[in-house]
C-alpha cells in the first residue's frame, strides 16, 4: 500500500480500518503489494568441498558457497499480516573489493522457491558461488561486496559484504579463536598488533580493554562521545580537558572509552578514581567487566547472585553462600566474581579454560578475549546489521506520501531504554506501510522518563552522530517534536542519546514518507 501523493494525485490508499476488515476476511487480493522481504542472514562456505575447507569463512584461493536468507515481512504495528507466499529467484553481480586481487562470481544464480516465512537459498538447493584470490593480501581488513537482486513477487536489491579471512599470519585457520578474531577485526574492535599479526598470546592491558569493550557496546569508535558526565561530574577527553581518573590523562587514547564505560556503570577502575591502565586483566576481572556491560547501566549490583534457568541455554547457578550451586570448580560462591563468571556461563558466553575450570586468576590473553567480546555483544562476521554501513546517498527529488499516523517504536514496550551516550538503530522501512524504497520519513519523536537533561540526535543510519539535535529535554520531562529524517541504506534511522547519565525512553511515530 502506498500513501497519498502530496500533489493530490490519487494513489492507492486505504484507511487503516478498511484495511483491517479486508485482512479479517482473509481475502487479500492485493496482498503482494503489502508483503516485503528483509535480509536475515548470510552463510558463507558452510560445507567442505573440493574447492573450499567449509570453515564458514571466505578465504583467498577458495571458491565458496554464498547462501543468503530472506524473511518475509511480518506483522506490522497495525496488525496487518502478509499471508501471500512469495516466489523468488536471485542474481548475484558485481563482486568487488580493494584493487590488487581477483574477484569472481562462479555461480550468479540462486533460487529461493516459495518463501512463506524465512528461507535460505540453500533450502531450495541453489545458491551462489564466489572466489577471491590475490598474490599479496591487499589490506589487513579485507572486505568484498556483491549485489544481490531478487526477481519475483517482491523485487529487492541488497548489497552484501563478504569479509575475507586469513587476516593474521599468527592466527591460523586451525586456531579455535580464528573466526572470533576475524570477527573482532571486521567489527572494528581491534586490528592487529602489527600490520600482519594479531599477537594472540599477549595480555591486553586495562586501558586497551576499555577501548575494546566501549567500541563493542557503542558499535564503533565513532559513536563514542569525547565528553560527558559521570555521576554529576563532567569529563572532557580533549587536550586541556578533564579526566575523572587520576592516572588517565585527557589525551590518553583510552580516556573517552573508560569514561564512557563509567557512564554505563561498567567500572574498569582498580579503585574508584584510578584505572591502572597498564595493568593486565585477569579472567575474573574480565568476567566482571563483561557482566556489567551486559546489564548496563545497572552496574555491579544488577548482576544476579543467583539466576536461571536461562531461557536459551537452560543453565542455572547460585553464588549465594547459603545455597551455592556453581559450575566451575575453581570459582566458588565465596569468589567475589562468582556471579559474574557464572552469569556469563549461564548466558552461553563463555565455557571456561578447560573442562569445568575457569582459571580465574590467569591473565586474559588477546585470543581468549575474542570469545568474551564476540559472544557477549553478538558480533557478526556475515549478514545484515554489520556495523560497517555505508552512508546513504542523498535523497533527490522525492515527493511526499502521507500515512495514517503509526507507531514505529516505543522503547517502553518492550522495555529497552536508551542509555546515555548510546545509539539505537531503528528500522523504519517495512513498518507502518512504509515501503522499502522510502528515502526519508516525516516523524514525531517523543521522549519520556529521561534520567537526566539532554537531547536526542535523530539521523540516518550509516553515518556517525552529526553535531545537531532533534529534541531537547530536562530530567523527567515528556515532550515531542517533529522532524524529517533521511533513511539509511537499510531503511533505518539512528537515535543518539546526548545525555550525561542514566537512560531515556523514546517513541517514534511516522506520518508520512518521501520516496
Amino acid at each position: 500500500m502506498r500513501g497519498v501523493n502530496s500533489a493530490g494525485s490519487p494513489r492507492k490508499w486505504v484507511a487503516r480500518g478498511a484495511l483491517l476488515m479486508v485482512v479479517a476476511s482473509a481475502a487479500i487480493a492485493s496482498g503482494g503489494c503489502q508483503c516485503q522481504l528483509f535480509p536475515q542472514a548470510l552463510a558463507v562456505d558452510p560445507a567442505l568441498s573440493a574447492l573450499s575447507d567449509g570453515d564458514l569463512l571466505f578465504e583467498p584461493g577458495e571458491t565458496v558457497a554464498v547462501e543468503p536468507s530472506w524473511v518475509k515481512a511480518r506483522v506490522t504495528r497495525g496488525g496487518f499480516l502478509c499471508t501471500t507466499n512469495l516466489v523468488e529467484t536471485g542474481t548475484a553481480a558485481s563482486l568487488t573489493g580493494p584493487p590488487g586481487a581477483d574477484y569472481t562470481i562462479t555461480d550468479s544464480a540462486a533460487d529461493y522457491g516459495i518463501i512463506s516465512g524465512s528461507k535460505s537459498c540453500a533450502a531450495a538447493g541453489n545458491c551462489y558461488a564466489m572466489a577471491v584470490s590475490a598474490a599479496k593480501r591487499p589490506l589487513q581488513h579485507w572486505d568484498t561486496i556483491f549485489t544481490e537482486t531478487l526477481h519475483g513477487t517482491v523485487p529487492r536489491t541488497k548489497t552484501w559484504t563478504l569479509h575475507v579471512g586469513d587476516s593474521f599470519t599468527d592466527v591460523p585457520r586451525s586456531s579455535p579463536f580464528y573466526k572470533k578474531i576475524e570477527t573482532l577485526l571486521h567489527n572494528g574492535i581491534t586490528g592487529g598488533c602489527t600490520p600482519t599479526e594479531y599477537c594472540p598470546g599477549q595480555n591486553p592491558s586495562r586501558g586497551e580493554m576499555a577501548i575494546f569493550i566501549a567500541r563493542a557496546i557503542a558499535g564503533g569508535d565513532a559513536n563514542l562521545p569525547s565528553a560527558g558526565i559521570v555521576d554529576g561530574s563532567a569529563y572532557n577527553c580533549t587536550a586541556g580537558g578533564i579526566s575523572l581518573f587520576t592516572d588517565v590523562a585527557p589525551t590518553d587514547p583510552y580516556c573517552k572509552h573508560v569514561h564512557y564505560l563509567a557512564t554505563q556503570n561498567v567500572m574498569l577502575g582498580c579503585s574508584p578514581t584510578s584505572l591502572c591502565p597498564s595493568a593486565n586483566v585477569d579472567r575474573d576481572e574480565m568476567a566482571g567487566f563483561i557482566a556489567e556491560a551486559i546489564v548496563r547501566p545497572g552496574g555491579e549490583t544488577a548482576v544476579p547472585l543467583a539466576y536461571g534457568p536461562d531461557p536459551v541455554t537452560g543453565l542455572s547457578y547460585s553464588c549465594d553462600a547459603g545455597s551455592p550451586d556453581t559450575h566451575f570448580t575453581d570459582v566458588s560462591a565465596s569468589d567475589p566474581f562468582c556471579k559474574d563468571v557464572h552469569y556469563l556461563w549461564a548466558k552461553g558466553i563463555i565455557t571456561g579454560c578447560a573442562g569445568d575450570q575457569y582459571c580465574p586468576t590467569v591473565d586474559l590473553t588477546r585470543e581468549a578475549m575474542s570469545e568474551f567480546l564476540v559472544n557477549a555483544f553478538a558480533l557478526k562476521l556475515y549478514g545484515p546489521g554489520t556495523p560497517i554501513a555505508l552512508p546513504p546517498p542523498p535523497v533527490v527529488n522525492a515527493p511526499f506520501f502521507a500515512l495514517a499516523p503509526c507507531r514505529v517504536i516505543d522503547t517502553r514496550n518492550p522495555d529497552l531504554a536508551l542509555a546515555a551516550g548510546a545509539t539505537r538503530n531503528v528500522t523504519v522501512a517495512g513498518q507502518c506501510e512504509i515501503p522499502l524504497s522510502a528515502k526519508a520519513v516525516s516523524i514525531n519523536v517523543t521522549v519520556t522518563q529521561p534520567a537526566a537533561a539532554g537531547n536526542l540526535v535523530v539521523f540516518p543510519a550509516g553515518i556517525p552522530p552529526p553535531a545537531t539535535s532533534t529534541i531537547n529535554y530536562r530530567a523527567g520531562q515528556t515532550r515531542a517534536n517533529n522532524a524529517i529524517i533521511q533513511l539509511g541504506s537499510n531503511g533505518d534511522i539512528q537515535v543518539f542519546a546526548n545525555q550525561g547519565a542514566g537512560t531515556v525512553h523514546f517513541i517514534v511515530d511516522v506520518n508520512g514518507y518521501y520516496e
Binding site: A398, K439, I463, P466, T470, R474, R479, N481, I484
Partner: protein, 165 residues
C-alpha cells in the same frame, strides 16, 4: 508554476493562506532533498560567527539568517526542513520565522517559558521567493523573539535535515 501576487507560503505550525482568488493556492509542488543533518546557525557561538553566530536574539529585534549555500542547501531551494531550538530565553515568549522579503506574519514557530534550558520544534520554512516564484538572490530567513514585556534575550540554534524544491 502559478503566480499570484498575494501568494503566501505557510509554516508547519500555524497556517496562513491569504489569497484574493477563488480558492487557496500554495507554491509548488516541491519535492524533498536530504542533506546530512547539519547546524546552520548557533547564536551561542561554538564556532559560528557573523550572521550565523552571536549575539543572542534581543526581544523585538528581527534578525536575518542565511540558509542557502550552507550545509548543502542550494540557492534555488524553495523551503528548508529545519529544527529550531531556543536556549535559555530570559522571558516567556515565542519565535516567529518567515521569508526575509515578506512582512512579519501572525504565526509563531515555537513558544516557551522563561528560563527553559532548551526546547525545539521542527519547521518547514519557506525561502524568500520573487513574484515569479523563483528564490531571490541570497535568500535569508527572518527571525524575531517576541515577548509580552520588553527586554530579554534568547539563544537560537538552527539545524537542517533537508530542503524542498
Amino acid at each position: 508554476m502559478t503566480t499570484k501576487t498575494t501568494l503566501r507560503l505557510m509554516l508547519l505550525v500555524g497556517v496562513l493562506v491569504v489569497v484574493s482568488t477563488a480558492h487557496a493556492q500554495g507554491a509548488g509542488p516541491y519535492n524533498f532533498y536530504s542533506v546530512t543533518p547539519c547546524r546552520l546557525a548557533d547564536t551561542r557561538g561554538f564556532g559560528f560567527s557573523g550572521l550565523s553566530g552571536p549575539p543572542a536574539l534581543s526581544a523585538g529585534s528581527p534578525r536575518n539568517f542565511p540558509i542557502a549555500g550552507l550545509c548543502g542547501v542550494p540557492a534555488d531551494a524553495k523551503a528548508a526542513a529545519l529544527n529550531v531550538t531556543v536556549v535559555s530565553p530570559a522571558l516567556e515568549g515565542f519565535i516567529k520565522i518567515w521569508p526575509s522579503n515578506q512582512s512579519l506574519p501572525a504565526v509563531s514557530t515555537i513558544n516557551f517559558a522563561a528560563g527553559e534550558p532548551a526546547i525545539a520544534n521542527g519547521a518547514i520554512v519557506p525561502m524568500a521567493l520573487d513574484l515569479q516564484g523563483n528564490t531571490i538572490a541570497d535568500p535569508q530567513i527572518s527571525v524575531v523573539y517576541g515577548t509580552a514585556v520588553p527586554g530579554g534575550t534568547a539563544d537560537l540554534i538552527l539545524d537542517v535535515t533537508g530542503f524542498f524544491k
